[in-house]
């Protein structure tokens, strides 16, 4: 009987959260349409509630990341009390294994984890899409060479490969960014090449070639604008993967190094609390999950728009 009541309560909570999220999304959509210039408002009107919810989540995360020192009640590395203090008015989410304020760490974690993930994804995209477009446009042996290298890199499971490389080059934030960017650029390369393959056979590309246009202009002016929609959508997805990978590496101790706040290592450091029935260590994991879901909602919508489908 108790189990049933527990289950129903949980169900009720989930329903309440979904309704609240939908409500917030709806309010946001209405306000955004009213405030945005005509062109943007037209686009927003087509966005489903899920996409609006995703946009809110992203905006909140970015704001928190940028304003972290202003919002956080304490310093990032400041030891403010005893270890594992429970939730209270002075420490809203309690303290961690070293007595640092949990809420503060969570807020700074947004800055570190999200910022690093963004830089990494950007790098992976710059590398992957340039090489992918180049391979598709030039073709021949260059395409073969690049594609086979990518095949080899992709044959190794990414997390193990990342661990291996980080052990070789040593753990630091810069190294981690470079390693993950390299691994993820292979996925971007494959997509960029596949998309560009369909574009290079178009007559307008042939016309540009016959005009005598150089390779760079061919890629940047003729092919890239037509490949941008799927690439942007992929950026969102890739961002989530990178984000999860950083957290995973941090959890394993090879990612962002202490005392820098990071969601992945926060889960690991406080994992003991779970055995006492405290959900605090799961909050950073929840933060990761929420952002992932939010970004995916937005990406789904963008993919939908790019594919030209209507409802």
């Amino acid at each position: 009987m108790d189990a049933l009541i527990g289950f129903l309560t949980a169900l009720l909570w989930i329903a309440a959260v979904i309704v609240a999220a939908a409500g917030v999304a709806w309010v946001f959509k209405t306000v955004a349409i009213a405030l945005a210039p005509a062109g943007v408002a037209k686009v927003l009107r087509t966005a489903p509630l899920t996409a609006n919810f995703g946009i809110i989540v992203i905006i909140v995360y970015v704001t928190v990341a940028i304003l972290a020192p202003l919002i956080a009640p304490y310093g990032e590395r400041e030891v403010v009390g005893g270890e594992y203090l429970p939730w209270s008015t002075t420490h809203l989410l309690g303290t961690d294994n070293l007595g640092r304020d949990m809420l503060t760490r969570l807020i700074y974690g947004a800055r570190n984890t999200v910022g690093i993930a963004f830089v990494t994804t950007g790098l992976a995209f710059a590398l992957g899409s340039i090489l992918g477009l180049l391979a598709a446009t030039v073709g021949g042996w260059l395409d073969q060479l690049l594609s086979r290298i990518v095949d080899i890199l992709m044959a190794i499971p990414s997390l193990i490969f990342a661990l291996l490389l980080l052990t070789i080059v040593g753990t630091s934030v810069v190294n981690m960014i470079l390693v993950i960017a390299l691994i993820d650029s292979t996925r971007v390369y494959r997509l960029a090449r596949a998309v560009a393959m369909n574009i290079v056979v178009m007559d307008y590309v042939e016309a540009a070639r016959l005009r005598g246009e150089g390779l760079w202009r061919l890629i940047v002016r003729e092919i890239l604008p037509n490949a941008s929609a799927p690439l942007v959508a992929e950026f969102g997805l890739r961002f989530c993967f990178v984000f999860l990978m950083i957290s995973a590496l941090s959890f394993l101790g090879l990612g962002i190094q202490p005392p820098t706040a990071d969601w992945g290592s926060m889960v690991r450091d406080n994992a003991t609390l779970i055995t006492f029935g405290d959900i605090t260590p799961l909050l950073p994991a929840g933060a990761i999950a929420l952002l992932t879901v939010g970004v995916n909602f937005v990406v789904d919508w963008m993919l939908h728009r790019a594919s030209g489908l209507k409802e």
Binding site: Y204, A207, G212, E222, P225
Partner: protein
């Protein structure tokens, strides 16, 4: 044509259909009436966007995605298809009303054999057992004059040619012996020589089973052969309807008359160039291949200034490949391409900017020839900027001049994207882009085949005018002999990579011909409703290129 006493099979009254674009509904069919008696064939003609296909589908009680039937009644043999429950409509479709799509290649499921797809309908509707269906399929394949009717059903769609596939599809539509078949441009994607056989088979089988049909096409000459009466549509409204002979000889409305007039566009042949004049482009003994497959064998022809050379032939005859050799996209194995007496490098990458500038190309599909992300200003302007080095205001001024030249209002069009243009306007932009380079020579690859007749006529007139104005030499690739009449001075007939015959236009249209040219010429439908009968009789007697196999069969 004695069906006037037959009972009415399909009666459509005040049909209105709306289509959605950007969240607003606009009417695309505006109150059309249609009556079809049993065994009667009605031709629906009109330009693209006239609503022909939409009406054809509505006759099955069906509206495409993004369309809805908003008014009127569709009465099929006592059943109102608009109010009938879904299950009832489904039971009718494929059984009593069948549909033959334009592109058989895209409509067959490539993963199943023809006979499996044939049997699906009759078995599903409970008309025949699987064995009966297979037996019946062979019988119908025979009646459709398909080669080896007993075996062809066991092939996959990609293993038979386009013309055969279209006939297999017609046979499939016949499977349940429907009362009504809707043919949606069944021969538009086929070569003229193949078209004849498909037309003859379709007409035969419709006759034999006394099936009523709606025949949708934009080709007047085709509809003249097939239909008992013709209905002309424009922008979703009926222009006029009459029986075929009356319609052909005495069209009432101005629009119909203008459609009829297009076919008679003809330009006089220019006097031939002097013997010592250097041709602008000269193709000499070119042999070319894709990998190991030879496509061109020892091809030679000259193109002089102010003259148009039409290269004609069926698909696969190597006409487009010849263009690719001239532009340098496909370096030939042997032979040379001369430009004003100078040999051009074989590969376009080795040609100088000026050599590239002198030879421009206009593509068949204007949709894919213009970068959808670039504005007109950039599409045309890039050539001007790249070849002539104009910048800023001068560049804009030149683009505006070019737009004027192709008869598009500069202020209105310069900042549009290609998606905001109609098909004919896109093709004009393609012409402007070629002109922007100030070339001596332009290759036109089937530039009018994707366009409606009236629009195509406008493009041809424009090309003729520009040629005189800028002393251009054209190489005009086409499969349509009406277009040849309208624009060419010389004709080169190609078959399987070989030049079969070449010479002045007047001479080419006058007998005696090479047998292949004869086949090609005689296959072009004429406006005379008796043309097909006459041609078939002639071929049976061994004339009109009967001995020559078309590339497709």
């Amino acid at each position: 044509m004695g069906q006037t006493d037959n009972p009415v099979l399909l009666s459509i009254r005040g049909l209105r259909i709306e289509g959605r674009s950007d969240e607003t509904w606009s009417e695309i069919v505006k109150g059309v009436d249609l009556t079809l008696r049993r065994g009667e064939v009605l031709g629906l003609i009109g330009e693209s966007g006239a609503g022909k296909s939409t009406i054809g589908l509505a006759a099955m009680g069906f509206a495409r995605d993004g369309c809805r039937i908003s008014g009127g009644t569709i009465d099929f043999d006592g059943i109102d298809l608009r109010t009938a429950p879904m299950a009832e409509c489904r039971a009718l479709r494929g059984k009593r009303i069948a549909y033959v799509a334009q592109s058989a290649a895209a409509s067959f499921n490539p993963a199943h054999r023809l006979i499996d797809q044939y049997s699906e309908g009759p078995v599903q509707h409970g008309v025949m057992s699987r064995d009966q269906a297979e037996h019946d399929a062979k019988e119908l394949y025979r009646r459709m004059h398909l080669p080896t009717p007993d075996e062809i059903g066991f092939r996959y769609p990609h293993q038979v040619s386009g013309g055969q596939l279209q006939r297999a599809m017609t046979a499939m539509a016949m499977a349940c012996r429907p009362d009504l078949i809707i043919f949606d441009e069944p021969t538009t994607a086929l070569d003229v020589t193949t078209q004849i056989e498909v037309l003859a088979s379709i007409r035969d089988i419709v006759d034999q089973f006394g099936t009523a049909a709606i025949y949708i096409t934009h080709d007047l000459a085709v509809v003249a052969q097939m239909a008992d009466s013709i209905k002309v549509l424009l922008h979703g409204e009926e222009v006029e309807e009459a029986d075929t002979r009356t319609m052909l000889s005495h069209p009432q409305e101005a629009y119909t008359k203008s459609l009829w007039a297009v076919r008679s566009l003809e330009r006089p042949e220019q006097p031939p160039a002097g013997p010592d004049e250097v041709p602008v482009v000269s193709v000499r003994n070119v042999t070319a291949a894709y990998g190991a497959v030879p496509v061109l064998k020892d091809v030679s022809f000259d193109i002089h200034s102010r003259r148009t050379v039409a290269v004609v032939g069926e698909s696969g005859s190597g006409k487009s490949t010849a263009a690719r050799v001239i532009t340098g996209l496909l370096p030939p194995l042997s032979g040379t391409v001369m430009f004003e007496g100078q040999e051009l490098p074989k590969d376009y990458r080795n040609r100088s900017k000026d050599q590239l500038r002198q030879a421009q190309m206009i593509y068949q599909m204007a949709d894919t020839a213009l970068n959808p992300k670039h504005k007109i200003r950039e599409i045309i302007g890039r050539s001007v900027q790249f070849y002539l080095g104009l910048q800023g205001r001068q560049l804009t001024e030149r683009v505006r001049q070019l737009l004027d030249l192709i008869e598009l209002e500069p202020d209105q069009f310069i900042d549009r994207l290609p998606s905001e243009l109609s098909g004919g306007q896109k093709q004009r932009i393609g012409i402007a882009r070629a002109l922007a380079a100030e070339p001596r020579f332009i290759i036109c690859d089937e530039v009018t085949s994707a366009l409606d007749q009236l629009v195509a006529e406008g493009i041809l007139k424009l090309l003729n005018r520009l040629q005189a104005e800028f002393n251009l030499a054209y190489m005009f690739i086409t499969h349509d002999l009406a277009t040849v009449r309208a624009i060419a001075d010389e004709v080169v007939v190609m078959k399987e990579g070989v030049v079969v015959e070449q010479g002045g236009k007047t001479e080419m249209f006058r007998p005696p011909h090479d047998p292949y040219t004869e086949l090609l010429l005689s296959s072009v439908p004429e406006m005379d409703p008796d043309w097909l009968d006459r041609l078939l009789a002639e071929r049976a007697a061994g004339g009109a290129g009967a001995g020559v196999k078309s590339a497709d069969n």
